[in-house]
């Protein structure tokens, strides 16, 4: 096959890679993007998007269940609901197909070329792509590594059979009777909650003393409470030691030191993700690493001239929006524009029930940073809109410097608060002070009023509490 020569080659078609490709092509750079799977990466195909679809289906089912069991606060009643999970998955897949097709369309519109196949780096300018038609050599002036991440396997619990990863959990066609989720992080809890709402008996096994350890206990409290209400059993401080000899039940060492076995139709292992930095010839470049991650500077440059890396393969937080922002920056840099990574905050959202959103520093992190802080909190139980949604659980919390009131962080837990991420991020990127938020009219009646009230509370000027 004739060799392909291009200016820019992007390895990985996830959010980081495809955004790089779109922007680079828009800027007139001869761009080729390579991925062995469909465009969109983990996010679109087996991550963010399909999980959100499943979570929503679970919530809808749960509402019907509540109505059928007389638990509806609105006085609704319904027949016991049923679900055709195959149809649910088909609906979910339809969304995924539309989105991945959309990405392909955007790339085409921008003028970027794409190539399906597994890339293998030969040197800093040459990549071989194993396509359906055979190996294809690509020469590029610049390479962007955007290979992403993949679920971590437990050595004692390799994927296969009833042991599934998040990818498998999002592709079940039949509801299991019971599901054990190994790992109480956001992925395990999001999927576990969705299945719990679909009527599956869910048990969460978390090695740390509490779930969602990246957030503090105050923020995760409403989630733990809700899990209990949904009948999810959460075992913290518990370690999975492996499958029993029968290959059916799960052996767990609990917090109190006893060994128990858990029977489960499916075992979801969601103990984290690791960067995909092996298996595609990266070692040929002998790049300096940061642990398992490729080391980058504040322009996403690796140690090798002309080789950039973005997204999950470069470190935490492994989030799609970080990768996209990096990709946009890198495309601009390749086009010769001055850019540098100077983001003040990367929002983090957890689609548990209730949702958690955090931007910037929490109170503890701010204090660890040496700041003296003001913290203002406003609970949704004092918010009219939250009441009318029958979702009074959760709160908004704002953290600001005591000396000049510059907002360092905003966090919330509550139904639907993931949408607050935009407002929180904007405030922090713009360098808002408490007064800026407090003096901005927030529409009534919305749950967002709690944002303004939290700032007022931090200033000692709270109105509705």
């Amino acid at each position: 096959m004739a060799e392909i020569v291009c200016k820019l080659l992007i390895i990985g078609g996830g959010p980081g890679g495809y955004v790089t490709a779109i922007r680079a092509a828009q800027l007139g750079i001869d761009t080729l993007i390579v991925d062995e799977g469909p465009l969109g990466g983990t996010c679109l195909n087996i991550g963010c998007i399909p999980s959100k679809a499943l979570i929503h289906a679970g919530e809808e089912f749960h509402k019907l269940t509540e109505a059928a069991t007389g638990g509806s606060p609105f006085g609704l009643s319904a027949a016991p609901p049923a679900i055709n999970l195959g149809k649910t998955m088909a609906w979910k897949d339809g969304i995924v197909t539309r989105l991945t097709g959309g990405v392909a369309g955007l790339l085409k519109k921008a003028g970027a070329k794409s190539l399906r196949g597994r890339a293998s780096i030969r040197d800093g300018k040459t990549v071989t792509v194993d396509t359906d038609l055979g190996p294809q050599t690509v020469h590029a002036e610049i390479i962007v590594i955007a290979t992403g991440s993949e679920p971590v396997e437990l050595p004692s619990l390799p994927f296969g059979g009833k042991v599934i990863s998040s990818t498998g959990a999002l592709a079940l066609t039949q509801l299991p009777e019971s599901l054990v989720v190994v790992g109480g992080g956001y992925i395990g809890l999001e999927i576990g909650t969705a299945y719990a709402k679909l009527g599956v008996k869910v048990t969460v096994v978390e090695a740390a003393p509490r779930i969602l350890p990246v957030w503090d206990a105050e923020l995760t409290g409403p989630v733990a409470k809700r899990l209990a209400a949904l009948g999810v059993e959460v075992m913290t401080g518990a370690k999975v030691t492996g499958l029993a000899d029968d290959g059916e039940t799960l052996q767990v060492a609990t917090a109190d030191g006893s060994d128990i076995t858990l029977a489960a139709d499916k075992i979801l292992v969601a103990v984290g993700r690791r960067p995909r930095s092996q298996g595609f010839g990266l070692e040929q470049l002998a790049l300096p690493m940061d642990g398992p991650f490729i080391r980058i500077d504040n322009q996403c440059r690796t140690a090798m001239r002309g080789v950039y890396a973005i997204g999950d393969v470069t470190g935490e937080p492994m989030l799609a929006h970080r990768a996209m922002a990096q990709g946009e920056m890198v495309a601009d840099l390749i086009a010769g524009q001055p850019r540098v990574w100077d983001k003040r905050a990367i929002p983090a959202v957890c689609f548990t029930d209730p949702e958690i959103v955090s931007v910037g520093l929490g109170p503890d992190a701010a204090r660890r940073d040496g700041q003296t802080v003001l913290v203002g909190t406003f609970p949704f139980r004092a918010n009219g809109r939250a009441m009318s949604l029958a979702r009074e659980d959760g709160f908004v919390r704002v953290i600001a410097r005591e000396d000049n009131h510059v907002v360092l962080g905003i966090e919330a837990v509550g139904a639907g608060v993931a949408e607050f991420a935009s407002a929180f991020s904007l405030a922090i990127e713009m360098g808002a002070r408490l007064e800026d938020i407090a003096d901005t009219i927030h529409a009534h009646p919305t749950m967002g009023e709690a944002i303004q009230e939290s700032a007022l509370a931090a200033l000692g000027r709270g109105l509705h509490l």
């Binding site: 850019r339 000049n404 990127e429």
Partner: protein
């Protein structure tokens, strides 16, 4: 309150002569509320020619001033209002300087506005209403540079600058390190205006060596004599095409003569400088070339040659450059010339020179003495047609045809109004001066 208590006397800007329509207020000797006696000087005003002191014609209390220093006051305008009543209230200061005389007929002083009670505190604590815009305040750079003067608390080391993403990107693209820019917003937030100000005039990076760039500007109003000098020299420069000739003069003989005369000086006789010799040389030279001792009235299209030689002596005074005049140099002896030069220069420096002593010159000498340099390009004292600049004297080796000999050499830099003086004539004039000064006996030989 009796009627006489309400009587207010108005002192108007006098006609200071020579068809002058306005004069500049250069000094107040009294302030509102001050008691003044008859004949006390209350103000000084300046025309193009001279400073004139204005005395009070009455004893009383100053209740109103007609302007502030630097204002141009029309002849006939109210300058000061004085009440004989020591308890009279002070009026608000004049809102507009250089006003035409008020419409109020001056025959009836009681028509003058009666002080209103609310004006009681209006002055002197509060200056004229326009004072804020006119007074010398700290200079603000022209376009929106608020950050320059608002120094917010500096960010701690390592702290990120507080700025929106748009400003950060603009700064990056403009190559500005925002950590070095002061923010004028709340908590030191950087605004687009802060960035604009920085781009207009970047502040230096903090230097540990203790040397900082200073950005303050001091505005000094150009008033008084300086304004007169400024206007006059500006007009001369823009209107009169100059030709300047620099010639070397061997003053060895002149210096021997001068030294000899000074040694022989009797008590009470002035010590001679080179200037009286030069004045007398000019008298000789202009006799042959009367165009050089003339006024060029370009509006009338006339060259006015004078029989009398009135030599202006450019003099540095504490107030600035003045040109006192040695009148009728053609009628003076060398000693008399020396005495007169010393007297008028002293009067100019003391600020006691009369208007006549500061005007009416027909040709001017400018000398910087020991600072005289090698050559200068003097501006003529318009409407005169010539000025002679004296440069520094120095001992120099001169080839006399067989050897180098030490000679005292002094240059003359002379400028002429080229509209009426051709280069040829200017050269002849300079050559004549050279001859006279190099052979000083010629200065004193009649005919």
């Amino acid at each position: 309150m009796g009627n006489s208590d309400n009587e207010i006397f108005v002192i108007r800007m006098p006609d200071v002569g020579e068809g002058i329509a306005e004069a500049e207020l250069v000094e107040w000797h009294a302030q509102p509320g001050d008691m003044v006696r008859e004949d006390d000087v209350i103000a000084a005003v300046m025309t193009d020619k001279a400073t004139v002191e204005i005395p009070s014609s009455i004893t009383g209390k100053v209740i109103w001033l007609g302007g502030k220093v630097g204002d141009m006051i029309s002849v006939g305008s109210d300058l000061v209002r004085i009440s004989p009543n020591a308890n009279a209230q002070i009026e608000a200061a004049a809102p507009e300087p250089a006003q035409a005389p008020p419409a109020t007929p001056d025959a009836d002083p009681s028509d003058a506005p009666e002080p209103a009670p609310e004006q009681k505190n209006a002055a002197p604590a509060k200056p004229a209403t326009d004072a804020e815009t006119h007074s010398a305040k700290p200079a603000a750079p022209a376009s929106g540079a608020p950050a320059r003067h608002v120094q917010p608390p500096r960010r701690a080391a390592g702290e990120k600058p507080l700025a929106s993403p748009a400003i950060r990107r603009r700064a990056l693209e403009a190559g500005v390190d925002l950590r070095r820019v002061s923010g004028s917003g709340p908590a030191g937030r950087l605004t687009h205006a802060d960035l604009d100000a920085w781009l207009d005039a970047p502040e230096p990076a903090p230097v540990t060596g203790g040397r900082v760039r200073r950005t303050e500007v001091t505005e000094i109003p150009i008033i008084g004599l300086r304004r007169a000098i400024s206007r006059k020299l500006g007009q001369t420069w823009s209107k009169v095409p100059h030709i300047t000739i620099v010639e070397e003069i061997d003053v060895t003989a002149l210096e021997e003569l001068r030294a000899g005369l000074n040694v022989e000086r009797k008590e009470g006789k002035p010590r001679l400088t080179i200037l009286p010799f030069l004045v007398q040389a000019l008298v000789r030279a202009v006799a042959d070339q009367p165009d050089m001792n003339a006024h060029h009235d370009d509006e009338a299209g006339q060259l006015r040659q004078f029989a009398g030689v009135h030599v202006g002596i450019a003099t540095q005074t504490p107030q600035g450059l003045k040109v006192p005049v040695v009148r009728h140099a053609e009628s003076r002896s060398l000693d008399d010339t020396a005495i007169e030069i010393a007297r008028v220069a002293e009067a100019a420096r003391d600020n006691t020179a009369l208007r006549d002593e500061l005007s009416g010159s027909t040709i001017t000498i400018t000398s910087l003495g020991a600072l005289g340099a090698i050559a200068t390009t003097p501006l003529i004292n318009a409407p005169e047609t010539a000025i002679v600049g004296v440069n520094k004297m120095a001992m120099r080796p001169v080839w006399d045809g067989a050897q180098f000999v030490p000679r005292k050499i002094m240059n003359l830099s002379s400028s002429f109004d080229h509209r009426v003086i051709d280069g040829w004539d200017a050269a002849i004039f300079v050559k004549r001066l050279k001859t006279l000064l190099e052979t000083p006996a010629l200065i004193f030989v009649e005919g």
